[in-house]
């Protein structure tokens, strides 16, 4: 029986494991944290339909008891030895895991907003990230870090995306619709709050995303300002003063908000960044793994038996990630059959 290892216990890794287990293929699933789920653990609801993220994650929990699954939590991969036909995964704890095929499903990091010092994250207490706001949705309690129920919130799009200054020139794709989803969720919890979204473009690429955008304006009175923030500063009462240019009317703008939410983009995971230097797999200029091509060989790498799944290759929604992971599982099955 071929040994299959999946690195990463987020939804991509879980979906690959699920598909392989359904085909009676034993899987070793390696997860660096103490729980499965990856980034989705941080989300309350998913766009565009506000599907409960926890419910989606729970749908994978039955896998944990599958006798064909070897789940290694708190296990970090240090290196993969490609020198022999059976690959060898070396963990940081010194464990050696042999594998005929490896699926890399190491996901993404969110952008470290402290790199945009001009927005004051980590400096001013009422500047938070979209990840922190999502946690508030989970608790159903929207308060500024100062403890106030906000009357006005600014959502700042493209933080760490399309920004040469921080070295990320690509579009993270999902932050626009996430901002709109979060703005609507906020309005549902706090109907009287004023919300202003500051955007460069609104990239509503998915089916129903545009409808969500329309609904945000029509049904929730969320304001959209086309303009990038120049800076955020703290006022005496801890509110945040923001400066931007409204590029539709061509005028500078200054306003205060009780809290601003930075829509942090997706970045390559630490795992893929490290591989760039140590393991010779193809990693692109943004740090994500490169598949052989982005069209019909989107799950494969240049190394036989090494596969890619989910956001390890670039920003994707949950739905896209699961589709990609299923494709990867199919590629693994083909590999097993051929070998």
């Amino acid at each position: 029986m071929k040994k299959i290892a999946v690195i990463g216990g987020g939804v991509a890794g879980l979906e690959v494991a699920k598909q392989l287990l359904q085909a009676n293929i034993p899987v070793t699933l390696i997860e660096q944290s103490s729980k499965i789920g990856g980034n989705i653990k941080n989300y309350a609801y998913l766009f565009p339909d506000f599907y409960n993220a926890e419910e989606l994650l729970n749908s994978y929990h039955y896998l944990i008891t599958d006798p064909n699954l070897q789940l290694l939590l708190n296990t970090e991969v240090a290196k993969i030895d490609f020198s022999k036909k059976i690959y060898n995964i070396l963990t940081k704890d010194g464990i050696s895991i042999p594998a005929d095929a490896i699926v890399i499903a190491t996901g993404y990091n969110t952008f470290d907003a402290r790199l945009k010092e001009e927005f004051g994250y980590g400096i001013y207490e009422n500047v938070i990230t979209s990840v922190q706001l999502e946690q508030m949705f989970k608790n159903k309690d929207i308060k500024t870090p100062s403890g106030k129920i906000p009357e006005r919130i600014g959502f700042i799009h493209c933080v760490g995306s399309r920004d040469a200054k921080v070295g990320n020139t690509y579009c993270s794709r999902l932050c626009c619709v996430t901002a709109i989803k979060q703005a609507i969720e906020t309005k549902k919890l706090l109907p009287s709050v004023e919300i202003f979204c500051f955007y460069i473009d609104l990239r509503m690429y998915g089916l129903l995303f545009e409808d969500l955008y329309l609904s945000a304006q029509r049904d929730y009175n969320i304001q959209f300002v086309r303009g990038r923030l120049s800076e955020a500063s703290e006022m005496m009462d801890k509110r945040i003063q923001i400066k931007a240019e409204d590029t539709l009317i061509g005028k500078p703008l200054q306003m205060s908000a009780d809290m601003i939410v930075l829509m942090v983009g997706m970045e390559a995971s630490d795992f893929s960044k490290q591989f760039k230097y140590h393991n010779g797999l193809d990693v692109n200029e943004h740090g994500f793994f490169n598949p052989i091509n982005p069209h019909n060989l989107r799950n494969l790498t240049s190394k036989d038996g090494i596969f890619l799944a989910g956001t390890a290759i670039g920003p994707m929604s949950v739905g896209e990630t699961l589709d990609h992971a299923r494709g990867t599982a199919l590629s693994v099955l083909s590999f097993i059959k051929a070998n």
Partner: protein, 353 residues
């Protein structure tokens, strides 16, 4: 990911960044406008180097303006300013020095920009060499290190602190003085790596204030332009923009009751000082509790004052927003009557708006 703001509070990426600042043997480049408005400031820098820090420097009388003001007003073409910068470097080469220390933030911006342009586009360096040779017969090599004079005082802030006669303390209350720092735009906003602490929160001045016993105020318009903005000021019809920007800053800092403003740029110092006076004269509005206005001083003036240099020798009577209340707050020992007389004389000589 789930870290709170409090947990990450001490992790600001640029906070610990300190550029490589040369320690001795400075080729000093003066500012043209500082010598007119606040001539004592530059002299104090040299006095502190010589008398308090025992540092060697060269003050070359053959240097000219950097033409930065003309450059930023589109009067001086790029090739011309490059050639002039090259001549200054040539004079430095001739003197045997290689650490170029600049008094003016605009000049600092001009020189770092020229060095960066030559690095990114080597053909412009060759063209500059050719232009310099054709016009003056000179050759040149860029400096090994380039620093703003405030970098030097920042570097030696603790040595200065050890020699202080006075500290930034209110003698009446014993409380630390509250200080607004204003760092010139061309110090770090063009090239963050050339500023101590980067572009957004440069600490070149704030760390001096902390070392000398003061307390820095972070207020909403901290990073707002001082109001100089070359084009806004040089075109007389646009001076309202200049004044408006300064006013924005004053209104923003006023609720924090600052005791004084510290700057490292001639333009910032000049305009924040003068526009307060203009606002006071035209509207009666002042931004301090004592109706005096908020004194605006350069870092060398503050250092010299705390080290015990005479306020008259420093030239503090030439400031338009009166420094006298600050001197009294600090408990400085000086000839008050002479200071008042010299200030009155100086104010009569000020150009009319």
């Amino acid at each position: 990911m789930e870290a709170t703001n409090k947990q990450i509070n001490n992790k600001i990426y640029w906070r610990d960044y300190v550029k490589d600042i040369p320690k001795n043997d400075y080729f000093f480049f003066r500012s043209c406008i500082r010598q007119t408005f606040f001539p004592g400031a530059e002299q104090m820098f040299l006095n502190i180097l010589k008398n308090n820090l025992n540092i060697n420097y060269k003050d070359d009388p053959n240097l000219t303006t950097c033409t930065g003001i003309g450059y930023h007003s589109d009067i001086i073409p790029l090739e011309t300013i490059h050639t002039i910068v090259a001549r200054h470097f040539s004079l430095m080469n001739e003197s045997g020095y290689s650490n170029f220390v600049i008094s003016c933030v605009t000049t600092f911006g001009v020189m770092t920009e020229a060095l960066n342009t030559w690095h990114e586009f080597p053909e412009t360096l060759e063209k500059t060499r050719e232009n310099l040779y054709k016009t003056t017969g000179r050759t040149f090599e860029p400096p090994k290190a380039i620093a703003h004079a405030s970098d030097i005082i920042y570097l030696y802030r603790n040595e200065i602190a050890n020699q202080l006669k006075y500290r930034l303390t209110n003698q009446y209350t014993g409380e630390p003085l509250k200080v607004v720092d204003h760092v010139g735009c061309h110090y770090a906003k063009i090239f963050p790596q050339h500023g101590v602490g980067g572009a957004e929160f440069p600490k070149v001045l704030s760390e001096m204030v902390n070392a000398w016993g003061g307390e820095i105020i972070d207020y909403p318009a901290r990073r707002h332009c001082c109001g100089f903005g070359f084009r806004q000021y040089f075109i007389k019809e646009s001076r309202g923009y200049s004044l408006t920007h300064s006013q924005t800053k004053f209104e923003s800092m006023e609720p924090y009751h600052p005791d004084f403003i510290i700057t490292n740029c001639p333009g910032c110092n000049m305009f924040m000082d003068r526009w307060q006076y203009v606002i006071q004269e035209t509207t009666g509005k002042t931004y301090s509790e004592d109706d005096n206005g908020i004194p605006v001083l350069t870092y060398e003036e503050i250092a010299a004052l705390l080290l015990g240099y005479d306020p008259i020798e420093i030239g503090l009577f030439m400031h338009q927003t009166n420094v006298l209340p600050l001197l009294e707050k600090l408990g400085i020992d000086f000839d008050k009557e002479q200071f008042i007389a010299m200030r009155a004389e100086s104010m009569q000589l000020q150009p009319q708006m």
